[in-house]
């Protein structure tokens, strides 16, 4: 069969049916046979979710956490990079000068007085952790985020730090984590004190 057709148009061909297939019955029976074969294969693909939790890959983008530095302080230097980068506009930071008279904070200039992320507005794109110069914010592999109110889902600094503690305790660090020195912005200050950062720890290492 030849028909005139335009060169630029791609025609899909109807599959040709032989007369045996036109009888329907063999095809029906082979279909049923496939169904029966699967029914008795005994290898269900089901994952019994709440009972058996899935293995989430460590580069998953789930709930955020705010990392701590070695001294246990919030690593964030309140540079607003993440807030600027966030396409969903869900990060809100209020910066404050670090309390210089407190010996605990004497090597830091600035820190976030408040740091909130609206987890309901977040689209989990990971831009914030890409933007952060000191690897202070990271997305963890916690995926089952639930809450009873909208207010509850706006995570403040304490909550984000507790996510850090939780993931560190359970050993579910994201693969991107650096958890060492503060990152390129603070590397000079650090290396002056401690020498070069150990190699092979994260993407800046």
């Amino acid at each position: 069969m030849t028909t005139k057709r335009e060169k630029t148009v791609k025609w899909g061909e109807e599959p040709k049916i032989g007369w045996v297939e036109a009888m329907y019955l063999p095809a029906v029976m082979s279909g049923v046979a496939t169904a029966v074969r699967h029914a008795f294969s005994g290898k269900p693909m089901t994952r019994q979710y709440p009972d058996v939790e899935p293995e989430i890959p460590p580069n998953y983008r789930g709930v955020h956490r705010l990392n701590r530095d070695e001294a246990g302080r919030v690593k964030c230097v309140a540079c607003y990079m993440c807030q600027t980068a966030c396409p969903a506009n869900c990060i809100e930071i209020i910066a404050a000068p670090a309390p210089k008279d407190d010996p605990h904070w004497k090597d830091r200039d600035k820190y976030p007085a408040t740091f909130t992320i609206d987890e309901l507005r977040c689209i989990y794109c990971g831009m914030c952790e890409e933007a952060c110069p000191v690897d202070a914010i990271e997305l963890t592999s916690i995926y089952d985020l639930t809450g009873l109110s909208r207010e509850e889902m706006v995570f403040d600094k304490e909550k984000l730090l507790s996510v850090f503690d939780k993931t560190v305790q359970s050993g579910k660090d994201p693969v991107r984590t650096n958890r060492g020195v503060l990152g390129p912005a603070s590397e000079e200050a650090q290396s002056a004190k401690q020498g070069p950062p150990p190699p092979g720890r994260g993407r800046h290492g």
Binding site: M1, T2, K4, E13, M23, P44, M45
Partner: protein, 397 residues
């Protein structure tokens, strides 16, 4: 004569009927619920899943949980429906479906109806199968009224489809059983079963395979099951005729559908698969309890097999397009049914051995498919040649 006296006089013939009605009334809803469960499980297994397994062991109480949930649901009546018809439609649907069970033997019934419990509500109805077809076709009313009363395009469209489908598939359904009736010499279901009481080769399916194929296909269409579930296909029609129905009203439609499946499976087992007969379990029904139970078991097992097959078909076949559906009935099943009928008539009139039928019927089936296939091809070629002249794209051969 007062009522009490009449009742006492009628009692010996009344109680078996009441008992049988009780059995049907008790079993149909439970059966409906559990068929949904079995269907979900089977679907899950076919699709390599586990299926419902949360309520009770193996999820066995899922059906009950579903039932409770659906009874407790809020009764929503949309503003735009014709209220009276809206409420009547599901009732008609279920009522007709249950009505058809009146003449259905759900266990062995001896041809000489003795006193006592029997496995049928109305034994010895001489137009049994006619009654059944007549009543179960009425269930189209439920669907059509439901679709109409919903006052909704999708529902109405589903109803119209089902109407057309019913009209088309009644014909091959009727044609296919005429052969069976002609050989059994009776419209009485019990007698039709008794006629298959010899060896396994007396089962109608073995010497009327063509009738069996036609019957089963059209019966599937009558139940609105996949691959013929156009009245309710979700992708095109939202929910079809029951789009506007929820809660208990939806359940009535649902039960009606499953009752239909049971009816069709029973009919298949009774008409073609030898009813309660099985190799080693042949001959007329004796009254002994053990024999009765065994036969009931055989019948129920056959019915279960047919039901399982219907459910498997759902996951094996895609849905027909509407024109294909009509084409199958009018261009496929009706001619085949007629051919089969002529064959049976010839064999009966010339008193040829009836097992001649099986081979000839199948041969004719293949020949019919082959010739119609060739015809279709040559027709397509003509169409394409014409299309080529006009510069449009034709159909492929």
């Amino acid at each position: 004569m007062d009522l009490y006296q009449t009742l006492t006089e009628m009692w010996p013939s009344l109680w078996p009927t009441l008992a049988a009605i009780g059995v049907i009334l008790a079993f149909v809803p439970v059966l409906g619920l559990y068929m949904t469960f079995i269907e979900r499980k089977l679907a899950a297994y076919v699709q390599d899943r586990i299926g419902p397994n949360r309520v009770g062991p193996f999820g066995l109480f899922q059906a009950i949980a579903d039932g409770i949930k659906i009874f407790l649901k809020e009764q929503i009546i949309p503003d735009h429906v014709y209220t009276f018809i809206y409420f009547v439609a599901p009732t008609i649907s279920l009522m007709t479906a249950m009505f058809a069970l009146v003449v259905m033997p759900f266990g062995p019934v001896p041809v000489d109806y003795q006193e006592g419990f029997r496995f049928v509500v109305a034994p010895g109805i001489d137009i049994g199968i006619l009654f059944m077809f007549a009543i179960s076709s009425l269930s189209a009313y439920g669907i059509i009224l439901g679709g109409w009363a919903s006052n909704n395009k999708y529902s109405l469209y589903g109803a119209i489809r089902s109407c057309a489908q019913f009209i088309s598939y009644e014909i091959p359904l009727g044609l296919s059983i005429i052969g069976v009736i002609a050989i059994s010499g009776s419209l009485n279901l019990e007698k039709i079963v008794a006629a298959q009481g010899g060896s396994i080769w007396d089962w109608n399916v073995f010497w009327q395979p063509l009738a069996f194929i036609v019957f089963f296909t059209s019966a599937l269409a009558e139940t609105n099951r996949l691959p013929f579930d156009l009245p309710e296909c979700e992708q095109e029609l939202v929910g079809g005729f029951h789009t506007e129905y929820g809660g208990i009203k939806f359940v009535l439609f649902f039960l009606a559908e499953y009752t239909h499946i049971v009816t069709v499976s029973f009919l298949t087992a009774l008409l073609f698969l030898g009813g309660w007969h099985f190799p080693g379990l042949t001959g007329p029904v004796d009254g002994s309890l053990g024999g009765m139970l065994l036969r009931t078991f055989v019948l129920v097992a056959k019915v279960g097999g047919v039901v399982a097959f219907i459910m498997l078909l759902r996951w094996a076949l895609p849905r027909f397009r509407f024109d294909q559906l009509m084409g199958l009935a009018w261009k496929g099943l009706i001619p085949l049914g007629l051919i089969n009928l002529v064959l049976v008539a010839i064999v009966l009139t010339l008193e040829l051995p009836k097992h001649l039928l099986a081979g000839t019927a199948l041969l004719l089936f293949v020949a019919a498919v082959f010739s119609s296939y060739q015809l279709q091809r040559s027709m397509n070629q003509t169409v394409n040649a014409r299309a080529l002249n006009n510069g449009v794209r034709g159909v492929s051969a």
